[in-house]
Symmetry: C3
Subunit: 298 residues, 3 copies
């Protein structure tokens, strides 16, 4: 079994992963984790320090050892094919975690490798463990996902994980409001796919109104996406989540962000009890441990 796309997973499997992650969370707290044996190879053909560290740390918490394929110093330079690289590394490990700039790379790797493959991001496409840890964080902090008002705010078009996230939120029955600047909305076919699959309807807005939000999921708006610099500055300002905005929201509002954040959330927000993005990042550990465990044992 591999973990390539969130959309390969049915609700039962997602809930199985959450159950495993909860068990592991308890084990981590007691500092007594059930250990596995074996080697994880990390292959990051595109730099992503935090995702790679999170996978490596998760593997090590499970008792695995790690080897890191440093893609930029590799045989790739000598012209070796991607599948040859995968087949060779396959002989050196029991499970692979991979990031690649090309869509479909992880699925191709999964086809040629005997070892299970975990997709840590392929192009603008899939990043299933991010979606899993996002959903897990909401569930853990709110006790449920169904019926919650989830506001997705920022550049939803270019955010790598938004596509899977709306799909996952649909799967678990959340009420989704998408708040994006004009031209940076989530692509229509992605909206329709999720709505049709889970028979629900998402709301769209072009300005922030947090009044009824239970969860605020923030994505960065990048100036480079605008032709007009004046427009860019105006929109960036509107989509900066100030402490004032947050104080006007529900008291138990939680703020999430896939990180790294730059200035879309000012530093003073970090100290507010609503800010949960570092906790969200920490949840990557039990969730990725659960995924690795499922793949190695399944």
């Amino acid at each position: 079994m591999d973990l390539i796309s969130f959309r390969d997973l049915d609700k039962g499997t997602v809930e199985k992963i959450f159950g495993l992650a909860e068990d592991i969370d308890r084990q981590l707290e007691r500092k007594k984790v059930d250990k596995l044996e074996g080697i994880m190879a990390t292959l990051f053909f595109e730099p992503s320090t935090r995702t790679k560290l999170s996978f490596q740390s998760s593997a090590e918490r499970l008792g695995l050892q790690v080897v890191d394929f440093l893609a930029d110093r590799s045989s790739l330079k000598k012209g070796e094919s991607f599948t040859d690289t995968i087949k060779t590394v396959d002989g050196y490990c029991d499970v692979m975690a991979m990031r690649h700039p090309a869509e479909g790379a992880a699925r191709l790797a999964a086809e040629v490798a005997e070892a299970p493959v975990l997709n840590g991001g392929d192009g603008a496409n899939q990043h299933p463990t991010q979606t899993l840890l996002d959903l897990y964080t909401i569930r853990k902090l709110k006790g449920k996902i169904a019926g919650l008002n989830i506001h997705l705010v920022g550049d939803l078009k270019h955010a790598r994980t938004m596509h899977s996230l709306v799909y996952g939120l649909g799967m678990f029955g959340a009420k989704v409001t998408m708040v994006a600047p004009k031209g940076l909305e989530l692509e229509e076919h992605m909206v329709h796919e999720a709505e049709k699959r889970f028979n629900f309807k998402m709301e769209s807005r072009d300005s922030i109104d947090l009044k009824d939000a239970d969860v605020l999921y923030v994505c960065r708006v990048q100036e480079e996406r605008f032709i007009d610099k004046y427009e860019a500055a105006k929109v960036k300002k509107e989509f900066t989540i100030s402490a004032d905005y947050i104080r006007k929201g529900k008291k138990d509002l939680i703020i999430m962000h896939p990180l790294p954040k730059i200035d879309e959330i000012p530093p003073e927000v970090d100290a507010m009890p609503q800010a949960k993005y570092f906790e969200q990042a920490r949840n990557g550990i039990p969730v990725r441990m659960a995924c690795i465990k499922m793949l190695l044992e399944g």
Copy 2:
């Protein structure tokens, strides 16, 4: 004890390594490997992702931990001498695996380090674990080496491991046919050294004829080696191992390659039962584990 050159080993030692590797192969299959304790340092002064990963994975399968000396970011830039670097790293590990562009670097390291040193390639010179895994692969797949018809095909002059391989094939009594383009033959003094030492005679050809081959060991022919581009293209084509060539050979022919391969073996060959190069790469694990074990325990 160190492992610097295949030619430092007598047949008894090579057979001891093969015996250890067979044991380890069985242990790996049962997923119950006898563990050692300690730290391996990898020092690759020249990039070689696959050799480094193979050493690291082998060490970890044995229960060792790994530290990696990233040579390009090192004190070397500050002008430190090679022997000072080795003496310092020596204090941080129990065994070293090293690759260096300069001939003799590994032997020099072995002289100044207390920890055993494994040579993972020094210049165009020695790469003993590659030769050991090549011979181990033939022995494992064919049940023996003695008397087999082994064809070495391609640019034998520049292939790093060819020198040791003919020596090792001589040691085990194989019949060797060297098939190289004109000007890219194995250097005469290397041929004579092996022939004299093991009292046998190798055949030389300049075109491929697989009819009686039991093993086909392929090396890349690089265009850069030719002055005449037309000649280069012609030779490259002749030395590409097509599926058609292979179908004309013995049914139980095995095809080996030190990898990475580029286009000297077309991708369609990978699926043929004769293609054993990925299995050959995998054999690097038990063979390197055997070498590490021997050095640490010997």
Copy 3:
């Protein structure tokens, strides 16, 4: 608890670390080390192969696993704040070892991280484990520090660890002689701080005279520090520690150096029994193990 500056430590704590290091030294000799569990993250925002390797090796000898944050390929490039990086990595490890070019970076990290932080050097400022291993080496080789004649020789102004070392030598009651070229003396306020704090007086000279030295601690003199090339060459020559100099000293003189050395100590000195700098580097292992253990258990 964190380990940011040697000056945060009182004598009792330093002696506790030395006691732990002695225990660990004995355990390392018997190859039976009491193991801990957990993950160390190394964050080197400035390359330092030997310090990083020493921390990683120390952690692994204690049974910890290691993840390495490769700073140059990191989210830093995307503009993430230093504290965000630390908060995220904090979620992936149990202890951090860090080097950063900016003074105060390690202390800032310690403030935002829950995991204990070990400062492996921040700018020209602090590098407490180096000072600890320097003192530990003197104590181990000489049986004591108090009353010994310690000569500090070379560019004391720019040597990162000199400031802490004179402070530590004062704490343990050594007699300190500072021998620096004109203009490269240790800064006065550092001299005064140590002298006042520990109520002693250090001597200053501008040329080497080893007659009564028990310990010679050598720092590199870099030509770039001089405007006049002729002056630079003359001073460099005077401050090169030749075998002749050493033969004129006490028989049980020990020579130390923080490494890497270039030409301030000629290679022929390495073989003299007085040369202890590689042993000094090796002492980094038990000392850093002791520090990690104290932070994780304290």
